[in-house]
Symmetry: D2
Subunit: 312 residues, 4 copies
């Protein structure tokens, strides 16, 4: 991530801003506000605004007139109860807004979460930055042989070097050609006066999917937790998971009780199917259940053994 | 609206709260924060939280790093451009949360706006307040004879008195029976120890639709403006329109540029159909168009004449 | 449920309709189409249209060009895999539309599910039917003493009789007054020519919350299953649960593989929190865990014991 | 568009399928069902399923029990009334599902319409087709000098040839490298046994934004019309507009009354701001209004003159 001087001074100015408010305010999140947390080689996530705190969840659940006068322990208990029993609407009462810089192929996964507000940098209107994602060598994984949408061993040696060269060269050349087709300087004036530049909305099609884009993304806490539970999961693609992990830190700072409940009842929880549950009951009753006697497919049996922390 | 002493002191406490924040802050809205604006006989609307300001719309449209350094006039121009050309996503970047007390039949209209977050006071869990909406005499309108879903003349004399008595007596009696069926005091203890109270989730069905309920309602600026354009319109039922009008004031204080653009391009605007537009062109060309030569139905012709401020 | 002759003949006419289509068609659901399934004393649910079948889920997951040629067993396996791993978008590819008649207080719970399309009978525009929900004696439950939003024992004897009388008399009187205020016959003509009727949009506020309303409600299979998992659950209020149960039958007829997967991985499944999971592991390891040594609150311990089918 | 033989026979098989149904059926749309309408050089749109017809809109607006017995002229009038007065919910009662093949940069615009169900071909799971969009020479437009997100003159001569060569060569080379990195044949076996293929989820990042993807996209009629009103508009980018135009034909076949009302009250309509409306009134009153005396900015004055079909 290389912010320009102009960008850094814009951020610094925003951070220096101070105003008095009657709204719920979270010092731990204020401390992180506007700051760009680096993700991947040129990306970042930064919190640019928020509304509400742990108390706002409790307040909405109680439809109360003020901040409420209950003990902190009662608030925590209520939040845990709401999370455990899927009472999701009180968590919708907190809102957060991020500014994110991310490769286009990651943006395409991310946008599938529809319950959010988005303003993306427009390549019809503006010129894209010359920045592309090139994986770290330790992320250059082979196709998994067991999971059609997963990664296997890390590529090494000459094969790895060739792949990295290709990614770098193709992205660079395509960007160079994009710039040539646009034929414009930063003020939009023709570089070569002898020819017209291609329309931005057309030229962009020559860019590769690892080109970085950026957007403002705003959502409520309930939908954010849904996003994180899928994207911070170990089955998520590494390149989106690192964004989710960076965002987890902002949630922990923002709404610590909600985050704790989320960790216990969602991220760390396991769902057992009707069949799995009945097998656990048999095992607790002393029976030595095997895959064969379980009635589960091999795949589900393996999943159950993993959940229970047992060798398959 | 009669807030209890406990409610008033909760509100006062929230109003006295002060914290320092780096977030965008709007003094004109801060001044209104938490304050209950009376609506109808026992209802209110109060802003309990907000996120963003006019600048946040501009910032998202530009996907900028800081608050932006453009002139106010440029920001205003951009906001007007976005509103005029239906670029709605930047307006989704501001969020507001209201606490509303309202009659159930109004709540049922309101909830049809789905893109919002809602927590309603639960009559399964809690006991409803003894408050019902009784119209002011000047709102006691007869059924319109021309509009199946509109109001005509105001009822007067004995008929009006009879209607008001019925509304008041029926709501009161039904609430009394509700309370009797519940058989519980404020702490949930039986009033009459000799019998069990009916489940709250059942007893509530005896209440009338003018009983007041309350909720926390949160939405983004774009969807709020959509709500207001329908519910502050002269065709909306009076009892929801007064809520929309009260909320308009908070929008004017919060995002004055957006509100101005909304007033010019949405509330004060008129949409002409293809046929209407071609009639206006004929009229501007000097033709004396009548309903007969217009090709419009009588109803649409009347609508056009109203839009153009002409007698039909 | 008492359908008028006119309504019954409209339904019969729709049922007699036959057309040829190239679309996916489900004979078991066609057989139920349009038919009103009675729910509560005057309510019903009836399927009025549908789109897609089990194959449509599979087709969308594979983004295939035709109906697909895979074996039924593979399709079933894929559907189970999608359900187990929360791949929800393929289930959004099926759509169903219901016509429902239901008490207003049930409609108010139901409408909280926002991802659906709704057209409700308008009491601003039309006159409501004279029908109210009166519980069966065996549903007349006392307030639960352990669960603030649940039911306890069934009321009996004189208390029960008094409650039923109140509900019946209050609803009837309020409807009679509503009709008097409207002062109109079925064609909208004044019954008593000497006075004007109150506007429909005002008169309706005198009705009780057990008055029946009706609506067209349309949603996709994924959101329908979300609705059913909450509303067919034993914690849901009885009066909405019976609607969910009636709808379950239509889902079983419509998409049997999806329904089976839903039953196994959602309705019959249990989610264990991080703490609960670690206790189960300790128990499987032979430890005799008690509430005291579990680290769980009494409430969560009781929930875990229920899940595992053990006495607390 | 070059469908493989296997794809064509899958489509033919689906088209040959016939079943009897009681549902509303639209012969004109049945005739188009499954058929791929070519769009751009390799793309297509095809309707794969639908629910409802013009009658379903009317039925929902009336919450009726059957198909209704009103005259066609009354149904048409009601539909026009609903469209004119923004009563949008009855239009949500019809649903349609498309299978679309489209360049990724078009897919990225399209997905911004959030109220739809989508299943996209997964490049994590499968190998992308070797197909890229290369504009026709007459679409190779220069950047507009007046509109930052529009097109100007068509490029000609050597410049045009160079641009087309670049687009073609870069897309082809990048795809070749993508295929080399994957190192797999159609069955997923290594082509070169001596090395491991890069994970599909990584290799895809080397593709250009004009690579074709495909998805199943399903939405209701109201949201479809919203999509079409923006994307079939003359300000939309050509490459998405041609998809919208192809879809317009299916809407005209499917729901002719709704389509007519949409054409009159939405596509062909114009919205006049409060200021514009007051200028039109002055003009109709005989005043010779100029930009200077209008109070409008030059830009808005030009827009108004265009709307009224006058030279600026």
């Amino acid at each position: 991530m290389a912010l320009t001087d102009a960008q850094q001074s814009e951020i610094a100015e925003a951070q220096n801003n101070r105003a008095e408010t009657r709204r719920a305010t979270v010092p731990a999140l204020e401390a992180m506000l506007f700051q760009a947390i680096p993700v991947l080689d040129h990306g970042f996530v930064r919190v640019v605004d928020y509304m509400g705190d742990d108390g706002a969840v409790v307040q909405a659940a109680r439809v109360s007139y003020g901040r409420g006068t209950k003990a902190v322990s009662e608030d925590r208990g209520l939040i845990r109860y709401l999370m455990r029993h899927r009472h999701s609407t009180p968590f919708e009462m907190c809102e957060i807004k991020y500014h994110v810089k991310l490769p286009i192929f990651v943006a395409r996964q991310w946008i599938r979460h529809r319950t959010a507000n988005v303003n993306e940098y427009s390549a019809r209107y503006s010129v894209m930055d010359r920045e592309f994602y090139i994986p770290e060598p330790e992320q250059l994984a082979a196709q998994s042989s067991v999971n059609r949408q997963g990664r296997g061993d890390v590529l090494e040696g000459e094969d790895a070097a060739l792949v990295l060269d290709m990614l770098r060269e193709d992205a660079t050349r395509n960007y160079d050609h994009y710039a040539w087709m646009l034929n414009e300087d930063e003020e939009g004036q023709a570089l070569d006066r002898g020819r017209q530049g291609l329309a931005r909305e057309l030229a962009r099609m020559n860019l590769t999917l690892n080109t970085y884009t950026q957007w403002y993304w705003k959502t409520d806490l309930h939908n954010l937790l849904g996003f994180l539970s899928l994207r911070a999961d170990s089955h998520a693609q590494y390149e989106i998971r690192v964004y989710a992990e960076a965002m987890m830190k902002s949630v922990a700072a923002w709404v610590p009780h909600c985050f704790e409940a989320f960790s216990d009842y969602r991220m760390g929880a396991a769902t057992l199917s009707a069949q799995m549950l009945s097998i656990v009951k048999r095992m607790l009753g002393g029976e030595d259940v095997t895959q064969e006697t379980s009635g589960l497919s091999k795949r589900e049996w393996r999943e159950l053994m993993e959940t229970l922390g047992r060798g398959a």
